[in-house]
Symmetry: C2
DNA sequence: CTGAAAGCGCTAACAT
DNA sequence: ATGTTAGCGCTTTCAG
């Protein structure tokens, strides 16, 4: 089927190859390849002719062929569980930006449906046209991390710091962020502070919980297990957990949710109970997604430098692509407390 | 560089190819190819042997090679401007599901940064390993639609119905949905109904505006240009437009936002002005993203069958991949009015 | 039913 | 500096 006919006999337009460009420019096609890849050893004059021919013919490289032939593809894969809200958006924006600057393309793969074959999926991916792989918040990464390492395939994980594994990663200072949030609440006089965790299989969720505990301990406040409710980073769950927390006989005066989405759920629950915000309940989130400043009252939260994390991960990956044996780095970017309107000092009367 | 050495001399594990499988199974590699592609003319016994060898060696096809050699890649590309909120999520979920069922892989490309080179980008894509392309809400698609058509490359647009172009697409009944929303508001006694448009370059945004006008006209209510504010489908803009609308000397008693995110912005603006919802202002959105039911008051909105749209688009695309010359279809899926708590009949006193 | 062999478009030695 | 050539892994004729 040399001619690539479609099933009904329609003809696919023949692809313009470097051979065509070479003919047009009157040079060998190796020279065209050199020009395309910006290699040295091409006379300015011929380079010019090739460039012109390329433009004229509308030549576009065939990445499959390039990749097959052993060249770099200048694309990196991005593996995510599923696309969720602004959180991913911002990280991806950062990645995108950094990659674009270095002339790399991004391919995004969603895996959420293939829990079982993730490993095979990654294998397939790494044999594919990507030069490297970025993983955001992988759930059961353990399975394919081995594959990646074995194949010496450049990869960086974003927002996942499993302390047991030595994997290149970029994340935020989750422990510190949570600690800061708690310190703030504590400084406001709150003592009974409810905490809604994230998905506990994630390192970031665990670190935040640890930060919560540490702050409490440092302030000499005994931890009350009833004050901790297990969430999953999603708004409905935040709502549920808040209901639970707010039903406690000794109601918390503040709730610290492990991310903004759940904090929004807390707001709903509080409002539904007729609680005034922030008078009757102080709320702190985590992430600082754009919406945090839109809601009412504007959410006090711990900002994660999401975009920066993405950018940073991309740079790190590019480094590994260039130097596969570079030392494994685990970058932690600083979080910041963003004070808005959802918290208030504990008044004596309440 | 036959051996594919890394820059520091580390060796990349050699890929397992069909030749390895052939050796292991003791057959020619053409036979392995036949087995992989489920072609006829292979004895059950050899097929069995090949399958076993594949499993044993952990063979995974190299898509680049396959694609280069002219076979199908069983992957479809998905082109989006940027990843925004739950809206994309849901559509993608539907696409994902349909594709998975047919054993296709999805590759997602974000283009938002390359406004200018989109056309070249698409060309590149279509020369790549995708068998077909799905486009969600493309902004300036006109540029590459031609390329797609010229190359006879299977493609389907989701949520974009530019009436001037004959392009395969799937969308919702935007006009009808807007008309229904307005009818509902009108039936509640509202007369002065503010409207916040979407990004006007999109067909769906225009259709919703048309629906707004048509409903007004059918009810004999003269259109007031002051009541229409141009938004962009984003929450902050919804907030802005609402401020504008609510500052009108003759304030609207209801606002219909072209999507849910903007409706949330309206809620903020209203709350900030001390307006009670829905007593002082009725609000209707469009889309019915998950959050619509979380907010307070729960948002009355027009549901778009997002997931279904994605699924439908995927099926249509698969059809074009199988039959490139199949007739161009433009599917419109029905919208539905979802009544929640953000609207109230206009009382005589207000 | 099966194997041999010719490319797909490109990169990277290897010559010149 | 430039051309020649050998594959990359796979699909698909084309012969048996």
């Amino acid at each position: 089927m040399r001619q690539r006919e479609t099933d009904k006999g329609g003809q696919m337009a023949r692809e313009i190859t470097i051979v065509d460009v070479a003919d047009e420019a009157g040079v060998s096609y190796a020279t065209v390849s050199r020009v395309i890849n910006n290699k040295a050893h091409v006379s300015p004059e011929k380079r010019e002719r090739v460039l012109r021919a390329m433009a004229q013919l509308g030549y576009v490289v065939n990445m499959q062929a390039r990749s097959l032939a052993g060249g770099e593809s200048r694309v990196v894969g991005l593996l995510v569980d599923y696309l969720s809200s602004s959180y991913m958006d911002e990280i991806i924006r950062g990645i995108d930006e950094a990659l674009d600057a270095e002339n790399y393309d991004l391919m995004l793969y969603t895996t959420h449906r293939r829990k079982t074959k993730e490993s095979a999926y990654v294998t397939k991916l790494t044999r594919g046209l990507a030069d490297g792989l970025l993983l955001i918040l992988p759930r059961n990464a353990a399975a394919y991390l081995d594959t990646l390492r074995q194949r010496q395939f450049p990869h960086v994980i974003v927002d996942y710091l499993n302390n047991k594994q030595n994997v290149p990663s970029v994340s935020a200072t989750n422990f510190r962020g949570a600690y800061d949030a708690m310190s703030f609440l504590l400084s406001l006089g709150h003592q009974r502070i409810g905490f809604i965790t994230g998905t506990m299989e994630l390192g970031s969720a665990r670190d935040r919980l640890d930060g919560y505990h540490a702050a409490l301990k440092d302030h000499g406040i005994p931890a009350d297990p009833h004050l901790i409710s297990e969430g999953n980073f999603m708004q409905p769950q935040g709502y549920q957990c808040a209901q639970e927390l707010l039903s406690l006989s000794e109601r918390p005066t503040a709730i610290f949710a492990s991310n903004d989405m759940m904090a929004f759920g807390v707001m709903e629950a509080a409002r539904e109970r007729g609680l005034r915000l922030p008078e009757d309940l102080s709320i702190v989130g985590f992430d600082d997604i754009p919406q945090a400043s839109y809601v009412h009252p504007a959410l006090t939260t711990i900002r994660q430098p999401l975009e920066e994390m993405g950018r940073s991960a991309a740079h790190l990956l590019l480094k590994y692509i260039a130097h596969p044996n570079a030392e494994i780095e685990r970058i932690e970017l600083p979080t910041h407390l963003i004070i808005r309107e959802s918290c208030q000092a504990l008044s004596f009367t309440s």
